[in-house]
Amino acid sequence: MEEPEEIRIGVFVCHCGLNIAGVVDVEEVTEYAKTLPGVVHAEHNPYTCSEPGQKAIKEAIKKYRLNRVVVASCSPRMHEPTFRQVIQEAGLNPYLLEMANIREHCSWCHSHEPREATEKAKDLVRMAVAKARHLRPLKPIEVPVTNRALVIGGGIAGISAALNLAEMGYKVYLVDRYESIGGHMAQLDKTFPTLDCSICIEGPLMVDVARHPNIELITYAEVKEVEGYVGNFKVKVEKKPRYVDESKCTGCGECRDACPIEVPNDWDMFLGVRKAIDVPFDQAVPLVYRIDRDHCIECYKCVEACGPREAIDFSQQPEELTLEVGAIIVATGYDIYLPYDDPRYGYGKYDNVITALEMERLHVAAGPTKGVIRRASDGKVPKSVAFIQCVGSRDVTRFPYCSGICCMYSIKNAVLLKEKHPETEVYILYTDMRTNYKGYEEFYNRAKELGIKFIRIDLEKRQILEDPKTKNLIIRAETEEGKTIELEVEMVVLASAMVPKAGTKDLARVLGLSVGPNGFFMEAHPKLRPIETLVDGIFIAGCCQGPKDIQFSVAQGAAAAVKAAEILSKKALEIEPLVAAVDEVRCRGCGRCEEVCEFGAIKVLEENGRLVARVNEALCKGCGACSVRCPTGAIKVRNFGPEQIRAQAIAAIRR
């Protein structure tokens, strides 16, 4: 090991206002730092990250000819990039910085033990100094960028992301698992609080997506495999056969009229039927029919109806596409909870208990009842309807979170119902009414003025029973004061929870993303990095991250587009060099590092007649698992190798 220069370390202790200085004796820590080997200067500042604090570091570097810098302040997640920038500006290699986290690890967690906190801060500073002695200058790694993007999921969030990126001039692949883009929003009747017709405002965007020269729409397809890293992803997509040629289908629908087979309609939440050759809805994009081969009897009446257009092709096979993209936006949305497993509600047992999304389909003019609200038991318009809130949501045994949108959609459905059938009695049985955001509270007041009755009931004590003769429903619930109320209505609508989309976990595995305790994708930081994930170059938008309503999904889609463009706009990306490096002389090519690497970053290759491990630096996360496994010590993480860690560990135990 060559050590050409004398080690000259400067230590900068931060007060962070009173965040640190209120507990830790910063002066004592600074004085202590001065006694450590290699330290030629130590000082403390009120806010090291502030302009004067940064200036102090730069000046000290010049004045004391510092060649290593230790900052004792907050978490490196917070300000490591800031201080790296500072020392680089003063002429040092940015990787000659070490941080000691004396805020999160000392003052915040030991706020009632200032003495011990100060001692611990001294320990951490000593360790940081010990490690700093062994830091080496590093160069960031440059990787080229493919300036195309993939958006997974064509709901409103995915549409928003795709359109924004396409408008910025980037090529976008929009992949949707379903036959049409549009997502849940296309299933809704009206949107709150303005009562805009949902498909009327989403439809034009869907058409824009189809028409945009920069967007390639890949529907009825699934993402199977993702390889690569930020700027350079390789994605395998399987396109399921529609048995209808997309380039020849004109969307006329004559095949549908000829088809004899009726299948329960998934788009209508199975309230009605659709044909075995069909589109889910008339505004579908792309407007290409699909044959449900599970149900098709192959009578070829559709072929006859299609005639000279010859769009129907029973020989179609699944098609695998490989897309090369620089960034991925995940916008896979949500599912609605169907409360079959909750006996209190009688869903699936009583005819006249439906979920809100089913109500939505009853409201839609193109829906199974042509927009008339009818009971299933007798086909009559109900004279009284009760909406029950928090079904599944805020239930610790099911979905402990608040789904956020149910209060508003129930009010909306109630208002629509009252407007269609003013004579119908409408009740909303709620536990807490949550009407934050613009225009929502006003909409709630409008509902009250329309005569909708709001009754507050307990979150748990509720039970629905059916009158077997009339098929009416009797709701027994307890009010806040513990009084039991009983209400007979002709129809019950359950405001059921938004739950993670089926297949979220599988997709998380394919993409290497993490899933939170509630099953939604995890963001990198709940407040400051809500769009990013812990995988560089993969972003999340819309309800796949957690329940939210349309406007926030649109905003997140746009935000994700910006975050993706941040990558796509660069010719090359700089990646942290704190990754594994192989000492080729020591490596025997045993492949144990390859086995333990979670990220597929290591491959053992044959070079010049011998096996040697190679690290894909862009994929490596610097976790060090390979380093631990290596029998010869040939693979090490730069600046986190045995040399540095050992020095730090020894400093930890030797005062």
Partner: protein, 313 residues
Amino acid sequence: MPMRIWKTDTPERLVIERRLHVHKHKLELDRTKCVGCELCSLICPREAITVKVPEKNGSEGPRKPVIDVDEEKCQFCGICNCICPFGAIKVLKDGQPIIPVAESESFPRLLREVVVDVSKCPPGCKECEDACPLGLIKVSVVGPDGRELSLEEAKAYPRPEELKVNVEIDLDGCPGCRLCELKCPEGAIRAVKVIHGSIRINTDLCPEGCKDCVDVCPVPGTLTVGPDGKVVVNEVTCVYCGVCRLVCPVEEAIELTRTYIRHEPIKSGAWNKALEKLTSTVHLTRELVAKSMERGQEVVEKRLGWIIARSGS
């Protein structure tokens, strides 16, 4: 209301009902009419229908095969309704007997033909009614005053030429066994088989004393046990349903081939597929060739019609 499916199974009937919020689909199998042949199960596009032949234990009673329908698979298309020679299966949509595949001409209804020349019927005769093994024929006699007469009254009626004989036939369940035609003393009935074919029994292969086929045959007299204890076939009345082959414990003891099924003219891949399963590839090809000849002739007539017309005149 989310989708719900019910299944009720009794010895008399099997009912499958699928209820959606706005539609009810129903399939009814009348077990009293079902003979347990395998036709429906052979051609169900969803493979929802299975036939179970009861185990042979001892020698008690006929082993009539039992049909079961998988309620999860059935899509109420009505192909089984179309093909059942005995009219045992009905599909209904919202309470109406609508056969979706027949409505769209995706699958043909069977052509059943029993023609009665009532002018030949002597009042009081009900040989045909007695002969029908499925109880599908009802003979009635109406007097000049419009009153219905009993058969004895009719026989004794002094002026038989004033009486009007009605022969009502429930064609939906008639496989065309021709027993009525054969039994009619006056030659007034002409019945046509729905399914044509051939049947042969290799009696050498028959196990000692087995008459399972005879027990399950829906048309009496078609299969009988001869004086030598061997099974004898009377092909005149065989309807080629194939239930005999299904229950036969020995493979290849009964050779049954169907060659032709009388059906409404139709162009449908589903029917071709069914035909291939019910008859054989050879017979399917024959039907397809006949169809394309017909079509060719149509085209020629359309294109060259004016020449034919001119040369004819």
